[in-house]
Subunit: 407 residues, 2 copies
């Protein structure tokens, strides 16, 4: 009987040979000692061109143009980069997206603004398994505004469904805040259908796109989403802690007033007048000076995604995750490893999660061997397969390394 | 009669020759085309070593260690870097300072926390000429918490005095929020005396150190300051939009609870449990993932300040601003330019402000000539003299260039 690993190696080689985006792997910086990087869903890799670009930025844009660069380019950067993300990855027209703060801070601003925009309504709907910061920030907003959190308890693998949401939204609902891709299972929510159910109840829909932006096509304008937030250091490869983006649909911008009214959200930043007047438009979502150096890394990645096209990126993502599931079936399921993600590609984002009681220790040993997935409490390993930087062979190397550690 | 410029040139040369910190100027990156950079109070220059350091960071810490760097170094970076700033420039013991967010967001957190920590008190005291973001954020906090803003109207050049503060604080005062160095005039507030007056009234004292940290010695612990916020891209040379720092005195930490309770402020970040529990200690001031790339620039500058010693930095700063005032007296006062900063060095921070109705246009022409101060509405030019990167000769070149534009 043939070793299943041999068949999988042959399949990986064939898939990589046929991959129309195979060349993009060379666009990323070499990572000496790394045999398989499977955590692109947590921290995307830097582009090969970035070290020189950063060095040139420090010497020229900062070091030589100095303060003049604010007038020449940086004042508009949060809006310009927001529009670029909107165009490449969000399906959103210009003027609705800014890059600012962290995901947690933007979530706070949008949740506060949404509650204020629906006076007389006193509930925020969330799901109990959502990413901690979404839940924790909402807890704080609820405590200070007096609204109640209403929790959906979805199936841990399948994620939130439109039926889950329709069963709880009502005329008390101010806001429904959910994630497009579940950070644990990778389950993909049906954003347009859920958003329609939210609107049916007269509430606002806030989508957390942290685990979908750059890997799953998003159509914010077509889907009628009101508010969104997302992360730029995962599939947009912005580097550790690169700032978040926030989206407010043009039609709801007049209703939205966020609470942290720093000078960058003022109608005229340099008027420095006696009283605050908010900017019109999406700039009102800003607060303080944006971290420009942390906004450089994502720019080359956005160019790369734009050149490939987000639908081609998704096709590669599906190919990688489908292959990971087949490899799991062949070599990990027999060892008692559980599949914690949906089997059907159409219901899954860019990562596949597997579970085993030994995975905390296994992850530590894998990291030492240059195989880098991430561990999620209590016993999950997430295989985060960033399509432009990951091959099927690398995916298989990761799965086989897990097998070796269990064997 | 000797040209006053000749005498000033001789004086500048003598002062530079005798400057014990003269060698530090070479630690900064060259700036081709710049004849005088006088805006270190707005955006400090990068160190010469930084482009290579940034490039190495992208290749190694991010690109090769990848997600492992979170465990190895970045999780503790906001606290470690906060403690470093505290040690080098704030006169504060460890465990009270973090690097996070923007100044505006940290101001919001601290103002909200202070109001909540003084229940039954319903006023925040501010001064009418403070930096816009301080005033605007306070306006927002007042509107949402129901407190009233009580405005001090200080002399525009002399700045806020202890008498100004003592006259308004009372048993209704929850918080007094002021700047150590006035962003317009450069006036230096008497922090220990004002803080004592604030405490006498039972209120909390929040100091904005944006225009003093790294150039004026600060002794937060000795002065009994409760809360502080500051900027790292001015005299700490962190680069455009590098994150702010926040300080909460150990003794008041148990009273302080900030509203943006993201996962980084949770007791156990990776427990990802069902409900939020705040961290104890200063980490509770965090919210989301910090912008690591924007936290690199300041590290070399902190080393440089530590090597020089903050008192020596202040001595050089006083020498530069005193010389700027003498040069003003000799060549600009006769042309009708007004001095908008205190004359006495002991009452002045690191910049000198001068005024003339033509300064908006003059500044634009100076920038084209490679002389870069900044303009402040309505008609001020600020000469921001960052001590470690600026010579007396460069200061004089700036003053003479202003004279030439007016002549």
């Amino acid at each position: 009987m043939t070793d299943p690993a041999e068949l999988l190696r042959a399949e990986a080689a064939a898939l990589d040979a046929a991959d129309p985006l195979a060349a993009s792997v060379d666009a990323f910086a070499e990572a000496p000692g790394i045999r398989a990087y499977l955590d692109g869903n947590s921290l995307g890799r830097p582009l090969r061109a970035l070290p020189d670009r950063m060095a040139a930025f420090v010497r020229d844009d900062w070091g030589t143009r100095l303060i003049r660069s604010w007038d020449e380019q940086w004042m508009e950067l949060p809006m310009r980069l927001g529009d670029r993300i909107a165009d490449v990855a969000l399906g959103a027209a210009p003027g609705q997206t800014v890059v600012a703060d962290s995901t947690s801070v933007v979530l706070y601003k949008l949740m506060r603004a949404a509650v204020a925009a629906r006076p007389g309504r006193d509930e925020i709907v969330l799901q109990s398994g959502d990413f901690p910061t979404d839940r924790f920030v909402a807890e704080g907003v609820a405590a200070e505004t007096g609204v109640t959190l209403r929790w959906i308890e979805p199936d841990a693998v399948a994620g939130v469904t439109v039926a889950d949401v329709a069963a709880v939204v009502c005329d008390r609902t101010a806001l429904v805040a959910l994630s497009h891709v579940d950070y644990r299972s990778g389950a993909l929510a049906d954003v347009p259908a859920i958003t329609a159910a939210v609107h049916e109840a007269g509430a606002l829909a806030l989508w957390d796109l942290c685990h979908s932006v750059g890997v799953v096509p998003v159509r914010l304008d077509a889907w009628g989403v009101d508010l969104a937030v997302g992360c730029t250091y995962k599939y947009l490869n912005g580097g550790p802690g690169s700032p978040a983006f926030g989206y407010v649909r043009t039609g709801v911008q007049p209703e939205i007033r966020q609470p942290i009214q720093g000078w960058w959200s003022a109608a005229d930043i340099f008027a420095m007048g006696p009283a605050y007047a908010p900017a019109t438009g999406i700039r009102q979502l800003l607060s303080g000076t944006p971290p420009v150096l942390s906004m450089l890394g994502m720019q080359g990645m956005l160019d790369l995604i734009a050149a490939a096209g987000i639908d081609a990126v998704r096709a590669k993502s599906v190919s990688l995750t489908d292959f990971a599931v087949r490899a799991y079936d062949a070599v990990l399921a027999p060892l008692g490893v559980r599949l914690l993600s949906p089997r059907e590609a159409a219901r899954r984002g860019g990562h596949v999660t597997i579970g085993h009681p030994s995975f905390r220790e296994v992850t530590a040993r894998l990291w030492e061997r240059g195989v880098v997935p991430d561990f999620r409490f209590p016993d999950g390993i997430r295989l985060g397969l960033s399509p432009l930087s990951t091959t099927h062979a690398e995916t298989l190397a990761g799965v086989l390394a897990v097998r070796d550690e269990l064997g």
